[in-house]
Symmetry: C2
Subunit: 324 residues, 2 copies
């Protein structure tokens, strides 16, 4: 999904946001400019800013106000990626070297801190206390989700519920509040803001499940890193949890995962992926992603009619359009 | 300096803030409760909250409002310490194991992120946009300072100016805004808020210089970690920079620092410390700390008369009271 492909309506505004994103982290410190620009330049879908602007369409749309929501949300997402890469020991992201790999872990940690702080500096321009409250609460939840992720590495006994709670914190919440805060900042009515939150939350859940599926079923070109990276890191995703529930697959898959763990992920994971594909794990995960999309569309139905609804619907469908 | 020794006037209020600090990071996540409480329990002077409350005495003192400034500022300080310990590879702080040492670097990074987010959640209760602006700008500066610190490790060519800029970001700014924000949150007049900033800034500079002196001249009991820790990490502090300007000391000291660097700090640093003590480094650093205190007292002079001025004066004198 290229950044602007499906956002024709917002193309001009998104170009403006893109410029603002670059301005937002530009400072007097050369190394920090370089490290924080590094990930920004690698691109990305800018889903969170898009959702902010779309949320804004349900109120009094004002780009100058919305940019102060859109930019911080993308920055918070980026900062969390930079810190994630330290934890995951990831060498590439979006086809580029990660900050921790191009520089080192310490520099990546402070780059993340810097991007967070820059995000807050932009958000500080917003006067509605409600926005700060929603934003900071989501940041707390995100950091809890990140900690959970470490603890769940190679935890083959985790439940589907535990996985869902983790991706809720890791991904869905920030997308949910992107939709919501666009509306709140534009003084949309509370009902619309809440429905947008619900839409974003469900799209976010589907999006992460789909992302986890892609890591198993996609090509290196599609993913921007080698397939099976989650397996290598010990990140036990939904298709894996489902596959482990399959009586015939469970034992051989546990052996494969044990082997990957022993080798700290530095090994071939094709065997594990083939087992997962042979199980019902993929189709069951797809079905759950589809259910979340259905819920997102239900929330969308209840929103007032406008042109943005069509775009939001397209995005929802796009998230579960499978190219693998 | 024990937490409440010189804050008699504020004892009751500081006990309340202490309780609020514990509440503020208490959540549903067991591990994060444990890791984030760990440093809090180790104690500390709580200088930033004290300065917030004292700043508040120059306006309409309202503890319920001030706690939402005091608690976040202490939490931000704590979060930065947790991230610092990752960088410094420090095993102990305040006589206790650090988070990174009791758990690991990844857990320390996310504990820091969590404490930052918790700080923002409390600060989000404050409605004045000015407070958010001052706070977020200081956080950006702090993260720049942290990055600078990494780059300056073992940099024996750094100027006094570079050192001062670094401790400004690392320490003085947060103390300056503690004094300032206490006043701003209490609707004190702009002149008082600015003078309090200036007082805090200069006390903060003196405080850090003094802390760096203590690391060289104090005992393990006084410091809470072995003396010379800065040397071992490659943190080149003011007395060292001055000592390197001493023609007779420069060469042997450079050799000692080179030796420490080669051994990644895992060696005896007594030789280096003795060289610094034999130079004018200690007395020149002390003289600069005293000059900052003088500036702090000058700012204080221009503040309106009240009982708090006496306390602020005591603190300023206390900072440069040398026990080594």
């Amino acid at each position: 999904m290229k950044r602007l492909d499906i956002f024709g309506l917002l193309k001009k505004d998104m170009n403006y946001i893109e410029k603002e994103l670059f301005h937002s982290i530009e400072g007097e410190h050369e190394l920090l400019n370089e490290t924080s620009m590094h990930l920004l330049k690698a691109g990305g879908k800018r889903l969170r800013p898009v959702f902010v602007l779309m949320g804004g369409k349900f109120g009094n749309y004002d780009l100058e106000k919305l940019k102060n929501v859109a930019v911080p949300l993308e920055l918070i997402h980026m900062a969390s990626l930079v810190h994630d890469d330290v934890i995951d020991d990831a060498d590439t992201r979006r086809g580029e070297l990660t900050v921790k790999s191009k520089w080192d872990n310490r520099i990546a940690m402070y780059t993340g801190d810097y991007i967070y702080a820059r995000a807050l500096m932009i958000a500080a321009k917003l006067e509605k206390p409600q926005i700060h409250q929603i934003l900071s609460k989501a940041m707390v939840e995100m950091s809890i989700g990140e900690m959970e992720q470490i603890r769940d590495f190679f935890n083959t006994d985790q439940s589907v519920r535990r996985y869902l709670l983790r991706i809720r914190r890791k991904t869905a919440l920030l997308i949910a509040i992107s939709c919501q805060l666009g509306a709140v900042a534009s003084d949309a009515d509370a009902k619309s803001s809440n429905l947008l939150y619900r839409y974003g939350y469900n799209v976010g859940m589907a999006f992460q499940i789909q992302d986890d599926l892609l890591d198993l079923c996609g090509t290196e070109k599609q993913i921007g890193k080698p397939p099976g990276s989650d397996m290598r890191q010990g990140n036990i995703t939904l298709p894996v949890i489902y596959a482990l529930q399959d009586e015939e697959i469970r034992e051989p898959l546990l052996r494969e995962i044990g082997y990957i763990r022993e080798r700290n992920g530095e090994c071939d994971v094709t065997g594990a992926i083939q087992l997962i594909k042979a199980s019902s794990g993929i189709s069951r995960a797809e079905a759950l992603a589809d259910r979340y999309i259905k819920k997102a569309l239900d929330a969308l139905e209840r929103l007032p009619e406008n042109r943005t609804k069509k775009n939001l619907k397209d995005i929802a469908h796009f998230v579960t359009k499978r190219s693998y």
